[in-house]
Amino acid sequence: MVAHTELPAQVPHEKILNNKHFERCNNEKTPVNSAGGTKGKVHHQNGTTISTQNGYASPGYENSNVPNKKKIHQKEEECSIFVAFFTFLSYGVLLLVGHIKEFFSRATTKEKNREGYVPLYIGFESFYTRNVYRRIQDCWNRTICSVPGAEIDLMERYTPDYGWTMKLTGKIIKCINAGSYNYLGFAENKGPCHDAAEHTTKEVGITTSSPRMELGTLEIHRELEQLVIEFLGVEDAITFGMGFATNVLNLPSLLDPSCLVLSDEFNHASLILGLRLSGATVKVFRHNNSEDLEKKLREALICGHPRTHRPWKKAIIVVEGIYSMEGSICDLPNFVRIKKKYKTYLYVDEAHSIGALGPNGGGVVDYYGVDPKEVDIQMGTFTKSFGAAGGYIAGSKDLINHLRVTSHAQIYASSMSPPVAQQIITSMSIIMGKKGSGEGERRLNQLARNTKYFRRRVKYMGFIVYGNEDSPVVPVILYLPAVTA
């Protein structure tokens, strides 16, 4: 998103919501109490009404002829052929120019002191970096110098040599922040989270210098794990110092080469790396498509291991809650149904959805009202909605005990830093309503409202937007590389 363009004249809020081309959203959030919440009504554009629980429509299997308010299998809007043609043309021209340039002069970046060595970078990856990425690299790796809140201070950069190096000018630009993963706004430098983190830094220090298995377990880690158990409604949970490492280091201890994994097309790099390191056989199904999943699962179960044809020891479906690049929310009820039918296990990576979806902030499991015990392995990170760092895995006691004994991170990697753990404890307590007197609920409601408003407004302005309507991740497709830069 371009940082500081001026928005055109405001379209009145009511006009958008009353526009009959959009579904009416009538779920004003009333205070959620633990005794079951309120029942409201949602009016569909075709005139039917279905009852809701806590403001969200239930999947509605009992009345299957009623269209489900939660759109899952939406076909993404496609751009015009004109735009598609010019996008391909842009890339084609860039690659052609790159080839011509490299034909006449060898790659301008040369390695020193290593004459006679096999080149370190061969292949298309570095060609792409030199010729395409370099030209538009100002879009990424931008430097900030303030807390990533609603407004952010960006440090201006310029390039004196067409993108080979970027230098800071020293000027600071104040922008509205639509780029950080700060869904609930807990990345703040004042307030209860900041104060608690300061107190912890002074009391406990900032590092443990030891893995959890040895001398790295502090009281605060135990407190954090108890809180996570309460928040998610599971039997047991375990936390790690880094979200990426949670996937990479724990999937190998759960899976082995005699296991089958069905992984979504657009799964995150950490899941793919973790699955690769585990050695399990991975079959990829089309994004969020439960029919394709069922078909591939049946085939794999019937045929057994591709080489030995032995039956699989176990099968796991690996999906994410919200996909960070597509903005889509996973079709959890259908996946749970398939999982039960075929006796497989389900692993849900809620990196982006925990804290950001669901009436209580419990993630995609809470959003659909699925029983947490149906999802065998719930994984998530604390980086996004909680404004900290780290990851967790939650599930049954046996599972977590197994991870405590065999997880690579428990044995070799340092434990989470205490102020980070404290930040999670404070923000999670606020979301749960234990602290802050309604602050958590206010933030959850505000996020849901902001998401809906933003998505509609952007669509109204004519942009092509991917993803589910309730997802706070909003991919606005720009197509042409020249437009992005």
Binding site: N141, S180, T207, A245, S417
Partner: protein, 473 residues
Amino acid sequence: MSSQWNVYESFQALLQAGPYHLALEGVLVMCIIWLFTAKKQPSKLIRLTKKEEEELIAEWMPEPLVPNPPKEDHPALHTRTIYGKPGRYLDLGTGEKLLNLGTHSYLNLGERPEVEEAALECLHKYGVGSCGPRGFYGTTEVHLKLEDRLAVFFNCEKAVLYSYGFSTSASAIPAYSKSGDVIYADEMVNFALQRGLQASRSRIVYFRHNDVEHLRELLEEQSRLDKKDPKKANATRKFMVVESIYINTGMMCPLPELVKLRQKYKLRLFIDESVTFGTLGPNCRGITDHYNIPMKEVDMIMANLESSAASSGGFCVGTEFVIEHQRLSGLGYCFSASLPPMLAAASIKVLDILESEGCELVVVLQDKCRQIQEVLSKLSSKLEVSGEDISPVKHLRLRESTGDREADENILRKIVEKAESHGLALTLASYLWEKEASPPLPSIRITVNKDLTTEEIQKVGEAIQKAVMEVME
């Protein structure tokens, strides 16, 4: 030059062609028609009926998600909790504070007030989390400053910062080495490096621990094979991965000989300096400083900031050509949130301290390491100590193993428990035995702290001696 062929002239040419020519063309056309119209061979795949498929699916019984859950009394499920602030002394809830010989805080910089001040100052400005990967507004001024300072500290061009020590090694190696390349690694490299080697999909050749001759033999063999197939050799990159001081054994790698081998056989050298960051060398710049080897002989140095630097995360330093590649190819860099700024600020302060007082700190630490080594080697005949004199990491092993690894571990665990009652907090070195490439022997890992006094060192020797006597005699 050539006038346009028109249809009439083509037809004339066809009629003038010889009969043999026409016959050959006719046969070729018939072949093509046959290829397109011939019936396909019946597929060899057996098609099951719907009923058979349903039966197979119904019969399939998966094992439980965790087939052998650990027993409730497994020691890993009862790890010790530390109360209060970890430092030179630890409070394990036993009543008295125990001398800390288990955590990797060699220089004890986490206890310095200025480091805490720097972290708090950054907390007041940036909050705790950075809420984004480096590519999407997770890069703060603090990160850039730390990377510049690290590059200057090591006298290199650039540095790249990771948010977790384990991910540093595990992401850096696969960014350069792909399938088809060869990596020569010491057999005792730490687990994070082993995961990096596995993730790279290259051919891994382990050489015996610190055995330069064995490495030379392996390289010689490879170069003979290369001469036979120079084309393949020119497309295969070769790497060498070692640690400066191995955390699994406490021994130092013979860097000058390795550099000579690197130059002769055209390898690229990656060194993991997690243990020696700030603890080795007259200017505390690590092993290249210790052996006085210029930085251009080493391709990349990786280290984590979780030991001497009293913070979190890790980094890689090297030339710009090598390091900048990781900004797009290092998985743990691109696809993960950046280091919390307050921890980066603490590391910057640590670098300030190392640059001003580093030389003295290293001297003091190495003196203490030598003293501890002396005390430990005079211990009971049942235990032997392994590790360099000046290494801050040492291992205590059973001189005569019982033959069963679990029994050895149990004995050592009992020694650790007894030592607690004598005022020492030790730790058993923990490993994932089934997954290690060459599992080390069970041992107690002792880490030396710069601030140990002579009396405390004496106390260490006595306490371990008592614990051993109680357990083994």
